[in-house]
């Protein structure tokens, strides 16, 4: 019996997606649905002094205009413990509960109307006047008062400071030094599916069709908002049109849609506009990092000093693992890493693909390239010289680490040896050509998950878990795991997800769905098969997958069973306390820079990843290629254009916030190093969703330096920065 795990299986949800039949949140059409449109605050801080809804209410078709003046006080019961997706400090925005304005773009009213056109028109007619406060909207000013995250003082909180030895003294004594600051603007997820929610109340039961990466938590949060039992809320989300972290939390518009439905007693669809998304669903926080690297004459690191300041909101403290990469990616006898937060009148940032890690790695890998130059070493050679044989941060051995193989295979496949040895030394017509590389890393997480498996009378199986699939291929990979455990062909197994009535699954983020839900699916199917074997002597079950379905069907018939079920919770073991678990990778980039016009093209990107077992090389490759495309955007085009005076993002559209288009992408390839990891989880997987973004932007920027001799230390690398004008 050959397993389907490890095979490049076509996506099982492919036919639905290419046929337009996959249903995303706003594709559900409950009868009698009416439409909501949000009114947002025009100021960054203050109080709503008056709200005139007369003109809006006069619009034909308008059913209600909901705002703090007429909304009921909702329970907003505190969640204890807080879900992992919510900041540990501060209070989430409570929609329409008071007159406070905390950031520009905050929802201050919601119009509900029979038709969307009427709701949108009326929303534009709601008049607010404000008592304006002094907003903190200048990042550099806010940075002056940055402070370590409150959560860093508590066990399990993200660190605000990491120390090993006396890094400052070691840096001062180092013979080779780099001291540079790197700026990263706010970056936005920009999934193509707009965030949207359809809410419907049936007596005291709430149903939400929502764009979410975690139906269970969405259910629990809404239950707390409305003060009702969890069981009274059902969240349905079978397909998520991309999210990359923006749908981890339950944002205020979800509660707004539910509140509106409660008040108008109709199902309400609320889809944010593209512009509203830029101030409603989080973003990667703007971060400035100063990195000092000290090394000896041979290029061995003697000191790493990494200081990061990131923005957060005035009402919540969103913290990331920015200083983890400098603490563990390379071997260094001394380390001082500090991470501080600058509160501003902005909506709270949130995780965006590889949160924190991509940020910290960006600065570290740019600085390593500068150190290579300072040491007159090949950048790859410098990384090998400082290879970390164990996690010096956690002081633990690696569960597995194949970064050396990633470097070697990548260098070979990319042709790293042909890298121009001196910057700005290779020219092809009016193009300057350069190569760059960077390391990639992302922790391998795992959380408890439960799956339900069922053999049906016809011998096919149905497996469920309240997981999510925002694109990596959860449907497909879980089907593969289940099919292998049950000995069934792929098409005899149906895996379903995205409904809070299903057995609980953890958040679909942090690259841990395969590790967590996959382990649960494996365990449930294993238990189910054991149940079947209890009923039947193993010798009477065939080895052939085609025959297994008939054998199961006969078995159930013989025992007069409609079905046979098993439900299993899979828990992480204690290995995470004994081993440090990370996926690693190496990214190589070739760039071409127009010597006169500064235009930058990336003809080649190669990512080589060691991420444990790869369940489906086809979908995993797509995920990695997609991550590298995201990294290309991060390197060259993406940035929130912030206006300090108004405290808002001005380029809040897909025409002005530039994500890569097809023409930006040329050759991109992803390779996987075979890696067996007995410790991470039963499946031996580490996840690839996040690591695929890590290292891409620094590899490209390092290649730009190799091509032009110019160090770009603020993202994105636009043509005026390359031209130096």
């Amino acid at each position: 019996m050959s397993g389907s795990v490890g095979q490049p299986i076509d996506r099982v949800d492919g036919p639905a997606k290419v046929g337009g039949k996959a249903r995303y949140a706003a594709d559900f059409r409950p009868s009698g649905v009416v439409y909501g449109a949000i009114v947002t605050a025009a100021i960054a801080k203050g109080r709503i002094a008056a709200l005139d809804t007369t003109a809006a209410e006069a619009i034909p078709g308008v059913i209600s205009v909901i705002h703090h003046g007429n909304a009921p006080q909702l329970a907003y019961a505190p969640m204890d413990p807080r879900p992992i997706v919510d900041p540990k400090t501060g209070e989430a925005l409570r929609v329409f509960q008071n007159d406070q304005v905390l950031f520009a773009g905050q929802p201050i009213a919601l119009v509900v109307a029979e038709e969307p056109e009427q709701a949108i028109q009326a929303a534009a007619l709601v008049r607010a006047s404000y008592a304006v406060g002094n907003a903190a909207s200048d990042f550099s000013h806010a940075s002056l008062e940055a402070r370590p995250p409150e959560e860093s003082r508590h066990p399990g909180g993200k660190p605000g400071a990491l120390r090993r030895g006396d890094a400052d003294a070691a840096f001062a004594a180092a013979t080779r030094r780099v001291d540079a600051s790197y700026e990263q603007p706010a970056e936005f997820h920009c999934a193509i599916e707009l965030h949207g929610t359809i809410a419907r109340w049936d007596h005291d039961h709430l149903t939400l069709w929502d764009k979410t990466q975690w139906v269970d938590n969405d259910r629990t949060e809404m239950a707390h908002v409305f003060g009702i039992p969890d069981d009274n809320v059902r969240v349905i989300s079978p397909f998520v049109g991309g999210a990359f972290g923006s749908a981890l939390r339950s944002w205020p518009h979800v509660a707004a849609a539910a509140l509106a439905s409660l008040l108008v007693n109709r199902p309400v669809e609320l889809v944010l506009t593209r512009r509203q998304q830029f101030s409603s669903v989080g973003y990667r926080p703007r971060t400035v990092q100063r990195v000092r690297l000290g090394a000896d004459d041979n290029g061995r690191l003697t000191a790493v000093i990494h200081e990061a300041v990131a923005q957060t909101s005035a009402y919540e403290e969103y913290a990331e693992m920015v200083i983890e990469p400098p603490a563990m990616l390379y071997s260094t006898p001394t380390l001082r890493a500090d991470y501080r937060l600058a509160p501003m009148n902005v909506n709270t940032p949130c995780p965006m693909r590889a949160p924190g890690i991509v940020t910290g790695t960006l600065a570290l890998e740019l600085a390593m390239d500068e150190l290579a130059e300072a040491c007159d070493l090949d950048p790859l050679r410098l990384r090998l010289l400082n290879y970390a044989e164990r996690d010096e941060n956690k002081n633990l051995p690696w569960s597995s680490k194949s970064l050396r193989q990633c470097y070697a295979i990548g260098a070979e496949r990319f042709g790293w040896s042909r890298r121009p040895s001196a910057p700005a030394s290779r020219r092809d017509g009016h193009w300057l050509v350069g190569y760059g590389m960077a390391s990639a890393v992302y922790p391998a997480h795992r959380a408890p998950a439960t799956a339900h498996a069922e053999l049906r009378a016809d011998g096919t199986a149905s497996v469920t878990s309240a997981a999510s699939d925002m694109g990596p291929g959860t449907y497909t990979s879980m089907t593969q795991v289940a099919a292998d455990e049950l000995g069934l062909p792929i098409n005899a197994v149906q895996f379903e997800l995205g409904d809070s009535l299903m057995p609980p699954a953890p958040v679909h983020g942090g690259s841990m769905t395969m590790a967590s839900v996959g382990s649960a699916v494996q365990a449930a199917c294993r238990a189910l098969r054991a149940k079947a074997l209890d009923l039947e002597h193993p010798n009477r079950l065939p080895q052939d997958r085609g025959a297994m379905q008939q054998a199961y069907a006969r078995l159930l018939a013989r025992h007069r069973l409609d079905c046979l079920t098993a439900e299993t919770e899979a828990m992480p073991d204690d290995a995470a306390g004994r081993f440090s678990m990370y996926a690693f990778g190496a990214v190589f980039a070739e760039v071409r820079v127009d010597a006169e016009l500064g235009e930058i093209r990336v003809p080649r990107l190669l990512g080589v990843y060691a991420a444990g077992r790869i369940v489906n090389p086809k979908t995993a490759r797509s995920q990695c290629i997609g991550g590298m495309v995201g990294g290309l955007g991060m390197a060259l085009t993406e940035r929130g254009q912030w206006d300090d005076r108004f405290g808002k993002i001005m380029n809040a559209s897909l025409a002005d916030y530039l994500v890569p288009v097809n023409a930006d992408v040329q050759s991109i390839e992803a390779l996987f190093v075979p890696e067996e990891d007995p410790w991470v989880n039963p499946l031996g997987v580490k996840g690839v969703g996040e690591i695929a973004l890590v290292g891409v932007a620094p590899a490209i920027l390092n290649a730009i330096h190799n091509a032009t001799g110019r160090r770009i230390r603020s993202l994105p690398a636009t043509l005026e920065k390359v031209m130096g004008c």
Binding site: E117, Q121, E596, Q641, D656, L658, A663, D664, P716
Partner: protein, 326 residues
């Protein structure tokens, strides 16, 4: 979006009468207008759909080519003779918008498209072009996309059309139709500088429509090209662009036409650059020297100062490309 009535007149007279009423917008492709209506940047209570007017078709004549205003961008870009005789026009068409937008958008509408200034598009922001007298936040704000040429304290919004830049270089004229006949205006005079009235963007009178664009056949037309620079490789408005056309006698430039986009408040012809090129040798040092003149009078702001240099280099590249055309 406000509610509107919808009419679809069959002749220019009817259209002009309907269009002259306050609160009326003509709609053809709708690719520029509808997003503005949706975001509350423009308001209309009547839409006059002009797609039934007999304004389509491309007519090649000895004196030049006449593009009916309702010609879709994609159809114009597909026209073999246009590509052969006026390559800069087709290159600009293909560099503008996406294929699906080009199937909707008309060449006439393209000349009338609105600026991409970030403040103009955010209806909650002050903007003199959208709301006269409210101020220009771009002046001291996020102005990387804004103009260094032709601006005023009231407005530094860049004109967004690629096509218009190529056309103004080739000395195109626009034909304007009204109730009582037509008039012709050089494209260079069609758009107005913002001055104190940035909300008035063209010389169109109420009810007047563009009926056609006429591009004269000139000795330089075939040797014309359009260079567009942007952050993305495609599907983005120009950060800076240049159209160049050369009439060469051996190595000598008989006459040249040069215009730039993405840097000015209207499609920006550069007569001084053209004069410097006329009679000179077609080589890079001459191109560089001539391009220097483009920046005369440039008034860069904080985030768009690089355009001064970038514009010159784009001109040089366009001239070099045009010079190497067969």
């Amino acid at each position: 979006m406000l509610p509107f009535t919808y009419s679809r007149p069959r002749n220019i007279g009817e259209a002009a009468t309907a269009g002259a009423q306050p609160g009326t917008e003509f709609i053809a492709g709708g690719t520029d207008l509808l997003p503005l209506l949706k975001e509350g940047v423009r308001r209309a209570n009547r839409l006059v759909d002009i797609n039934d007017l007999p304004l389509g078709g491309i007519r090649h004549e000895a004196a030049g080519v006449r593009l009916g205003a309702l010609t879709r961008m994609s159809d114009a870009a597909d026209d073999e003779r246009l590509r052969r005789d006026y390559p800069a026009v087709v290159e600009a068409l293909l560099a503008g918008a996406s294929p699906q937008l080009r199937n909707l958008a008309t060449v006439g509408g393209n000349l009338l498209q609105h600026t991409r200034c970030l403040y103009f598009h955010d209806a909650a922001m002050p903007c003199n072009k959208r709301q006269p007298g409210s101020g220009c936040p771009a002046w001291d704000g996020q102005n990387r996309g804004n103009a260094i040429l032709g601006g005023s304290r009231a407005c530094i919004a860049t004109h967004a059309s690629d096509l218009a830049v190529a056309l103004v270089a080739l000395e195109a004229r626009v034909v304007l139709g009204a109730r009582h006949g037509e008039r012709e205006v050089p494209l260079a005079d069609f758009h107005r500088l913002p001055g104190d009235t940035p909300q008035i963007e063209t010389v169109l009178e109420p009810g007047e429509v563009i009926t056609a664009i006429f591009v004269p056949a000139a000795p330089y037309s075939r040797r014309s090209t359009y260079v567009k620079l942007r952050d993305r490789a495609s599907f983005e408005w120009a950060l800076t662009s240049a159209a160049a056309a050369l009439d060469l006698a051996g190595d000598t430039i008989r006459q040249a036409r040069v215009a730039v986009g993405g840097v000015a408040t209207k499609p920006w012809r550069l007569p001084k650059v053209e004069e410097a090129l006329a009679g000179a040798r077609a080589d890079r040092s001459i191109f560089h020297a001539a391009a220097e003149l483009a920046a005369q009078g440039a008034e860069p702001r904080q985030f768009n100062a690089f355009k001064v240099e970038l514009m010159k280099r784009a001109i040089v590249r366009a001239l070099a490309d045009a010079g190497s055309l067969a």
